[in-house]
């Protein structure tokens, strides 16, 4: 970290460098164990050219050299010319620092394809950074005809005001490129919202405009009334389109009751904005979504993809994306709904068997799926880790919320009892389903309790209620996880028993085999003995006969 010249009037600036978190052991004035083990040669006192002091000098020099220009990738050749010592050893130190991210952490990664290279490193880095620009560059305005001033807006099926431009483009280029789906998603609504210019009087049509049904001609209400239809157009050809209710900035006055309804329906239907909008009768889908985001924890409900955008305008954009690309999301939403329903179902039925298949499916799916809601993710994660971990996490979450303010504590007091009940279910192995049912019913009770309580007295803050519900959901997820874990244990035991049995059978059959073998060997042995006896007898016979017939004199 460098400090510029110290000027008493200004604060000293520290430059920040990023290193990966697994290298947080690094200190300037010290040598850590990691370094000692990785680069043993410096620390075993084997030579005067390799000492800790020398190592520290090498290391500090390399890191400082890199930090002079953090965006460029430091190469070994650049440092080795400035350091005295064996190049292989220096290379080892360099590689060590590189692997631990102490140098070249933020630098451009070099391309592996050597064809991309130049002899100068600067060009190489630039080439590896591909810049993608969308649409026309700034300062360039695309116009229909060479000298006209009217800019062309994106050809879009939704937008009608740009019809002229569209036709002209087609005529000019002969090729009409289909608008990129993402472009129309993002900009489609914006174009819609742009004020239409009246074709006859040239004023902005704010509240409503009349569209010419046979072409793309727009006149404002005033002109319509006055009869200025433009050439060759008659009254019947015009159709009224209302732009009034379409803007997001005005028209959203939400009462408490409406907010409450909104939250309930979001909790029930998750991301299915159609249903949510239905339940909240006076507000459109768009309004619902925007209101939810504006609520302090609204993004909490929306799922992790939208959580990324912290600024409301950013979230608004992504919101529009999500909304107008609803056809793509429909499938995801349906799937989520299914899972939600299944989860709810299984809780209510208390049927352990049906719990397994959905849980198993969730287990196979990837862990952090950007399309799923937070609650689903939490449930997902809780099925993967051990039940004690989940329980601890749930407790910690509750504790954290309690610590924030004393108010939720009252709400959670009721929760904690039931959470404790849910978590002590390991003892009730014989009756897990009942416990779950109990939990589920209690949860529903609690939910309705809290909701009743709040509808009676509206001073309980909205976000706390939501958090209550979330905590109870976490608790239920934890209990769920515990049951699944028990089942898995039993399965494992069963399988192990099978394995042991099989091994036993194997051993038995081996023993039998050897017994048989022994029998056979004994029999053979007996036979051999008999044969031996026979042979001996025969020999005796032969000798007898020989003696009987007389023996020739032995020569002495």
């Amino acid at each position: 970290m460098e400090m510029p010249q110290y000027d008493p009037n200004t604060k000293p600036e520290f430059e920040l460098y990023t290193i990966p978190s697994h290298s947080s052991w690094f200190r300037w004035d010290d040598i850590h164990e990691t370094e000692r083990t990785a680069l043993k040669e410096f620390f075993d006192g084997s030579s005067i050219s390799r000492t800790p002091k020398i190592y520290k000098e090498y290391r500090d020099f390399m890191i400082n050299k890199y930090r002079e220009e953090p965006s460029r990738r430091l190469t070994f050749t650049q440092v080795r010319k400035s350091l005295v010592g064996d190049v292989s050893l220096l290379h080892k130190v360099f590689r060590f620092l590189d692997e631990w991210g102490l140098i070249n952490f933020g630098a451009v990664s070099r391309g592996d394809d050597s064809d991309n290279r130049d002899s100068s490193l600067g060009d190489t880095e630039l080439k590896n950074q591909v810049k993608i620009e969308e649409g026309a560059p700034n300062g360039v305005r695309v116009v229909a005809l060479p000298n006209s001033l009217k800019p062309i807006s994106v050809p879009n099926s939704g937008a009608d005001g740009s019809g002229n431009g569209k036709v002209a483009v087609a005529g000019e280029t002969g090729v009409k490129l289909p608008p990129l789906a993402s472009y129309s998603d993002v900009f489609g609504d914006l174009v819609k919202l742009k004020g239409f210019k009246c074709g006859s009087c040239g004023e902005q049509c704010n509240s409503g405009c009349y569209e010419y049904s046979k072409g793309s001609f727009v006149i404002c209400e005033k002109c319509f009334k006055n009869g200025n239809y433009g050439e060759d157009k008659s009254k019947d050809d015009f159709r009224f389109s209302d732009l009034g209710g379409n803007s997001l900035t005005h028209g959203a006055t939400w009462t408490e009751a409406e907010t409450l309804l909104l939250l309930e329906s979001v909790m029930r239907h998750g991301d299915n904005w159609e249903l949510v909008a239905q339940n909240v009768p006076t507000k459109s889908k768009l309004d619902c979504i925007s209101k939810l985001i504006e609520l302090p924890f609204g993004e909490f409900m929306m799922g992790s993809a939208h959580e990324m955008n912290s600024c409301p305008t950013g979230s608004l954009n992504s919101l529009k994306e999500g909304q107008s690309a609803s056809s793509e999301n429909q499938n995801d939403v349906k799937m989520e709904d299914q899972v939600h329903d299944q989860m709810n179902e299984s809780k209510q039925n208390g049927d352990a068997a049906t719990e397994e298949p959905p849980a198993k499916r969730k287990r196979i799916a990837p862990l952090s799926d950007g399309g799923s809601t937070l609650i689903k993710q939490v449930a997902h994660i809780s099925t993967m880790v051990g039940p004690h971990v989940t329980a601890a996490a749930a407790e910690a979450a509750v504790a954290a919320l309690c610590n924030e303010s004393s108010c939720p504590r009252e709400i959670f007091d009721g929760d904690e009892d039931y959470l404790a009940n849910g978590l002590s279910s390991p003892t009730m192995v014989s009756d897990p389903e009942r416990a779950l049912q109990v939990d589920a019913s209690k949860m529903e009770e609690n939910q309705s309790e809290t909701q009743d309580a709040s509808s009676e007295k509206n001073d309980v803050p909205l976000n706390l209620r939501i958090r209550t519900a979330t905590a109870t959901a976490l608790g239920a997820a934890a209990a769920n996880a515990k049951l699944l874990a028990d089942q898995e244990d039993r399965e494992i035991e069963h399988l192990v028993a099978i394995i042991i049995e099989t091994q036993m059978k194997k051993l038995h059959s081996k023993i039998n085999y050897f017994d048989d073998l022994e029998l056979i060997m004994e029999k053979e042995y007996n036979e051999m003995m008999q044969l031996k006896e026979c042979l001996v007898e025969e020999r005796i016979d032969v000798l007898e006969r020989a003696l009987k017939t007389g023996v020739s004199k032995w020569r002495s």
């Binding site: 050219s49 190469t75 010319k81 010592g85 064996d86 002899s119």
Partner: protein, 240 residues
């Protein structure tokens, strides 16, 4: 075979290349019937000798050389291998020695000049790895440069190893006076090796002074065709 390196260890070690792989640098320069074949590569001395002839045959076939080359190539390789093996049985002293290595070579269109230090005692050093890093860092696209650099390094290390064998022999001869031997060891091949005591002293820094950086900096030049031709002509004149 690794030697635990201590500055005071003067125990002799069996001769081998002081690098991670014990590979011999082989250089060929054969001229027959107006055709010249120049090559430089590394050979693994533990390969059986039958491989030499196979290699020679394959090279002649790949490069479409006249068949007289086969025997000549095989012979040349064999000679160099035997020479290497003759050193193998002997001892060499490799006390702490950091030697400067200079690169000054031309490969096709690339001219390389470089200067750096190498520790003879580091039996895990790898010239190929050094060459690879070098080419990557300098953005060299010609794939023949890397092996050429590694070969140049190996050749120089080989030379130095041979010298240390020779000096070890001298020391043995003069072993009669112990004190004399010690003195000889400390100053053996002294011309080349760096004085470690001076360089790595406690007060001095291992970071070079900036004005010396250019000495140890690599220079890579891409030559044009005419320059290449001119250089080749000059080299031929020198070798004749």
């Amino acid at each position: 075979m690794k030697l635990p390196a201590t500055s005071s260890s003067k125990a002799p070690v069996k001769f081998r290349m002081p690098t991670a792989d014990n590979l011999v640098p082989i250089r060929l320069d054969i001229e027959t019937e107006g055709q010249r074949y120049k090559d430089a590569f590394t050979w693994n001395p533990s390969d059986p000798d039958s491989e030499v002839v196979v290699f020679a045959k394959r090279t002649v076939r790949d490069l479409k050389l006249p068949p007289q080359f086969i025997t000549q190539i095989a012979q040349s390789i064999q000679t160099q291998l035997t020479e290497f093996r003759s050193y193998e049985g002997q001892d060499m002293y490799t006390a702490e020695k950091i030697v400067p290595i200079k690169l000054d070579l031309r490969v096709n269109h690339t001219l390389i000049k470089d200067h750096f230090l190498w520790d003879l005692n580091n039996y895990e050093s790898d010239p190929e790895e050094f060459a690879r890093t070098f080419c990557n860092d300098m953005g060299i696209e010609d794939p023949e440069v890397g092996p050429a650099v590694a070969f140049a390094i190996r050749e120089q290390l080989y030379e130095i190893a041979i010298q240390s064998v020779a000096s070890a022999r001298e020391i043995k001869i003069s072993k009669k006076g112990r004190r004399g031997a010690e003195h000889a060891i400390s100053s053996k091949g002294g011309g080349n090796a760096l004085d470690l005591m001076k360089l790595f002293r406690y007060n001095s820094s291992v970071v070079r002074k900036r004005k010396e950086w250019y000495v140890y900096e690599p220079i890579v030049d891409i030559l044009s065709n005419e320059e290449v031709d001119a250089l080749e002509a000059r080299e031929d004149r020198n070798t004749r």
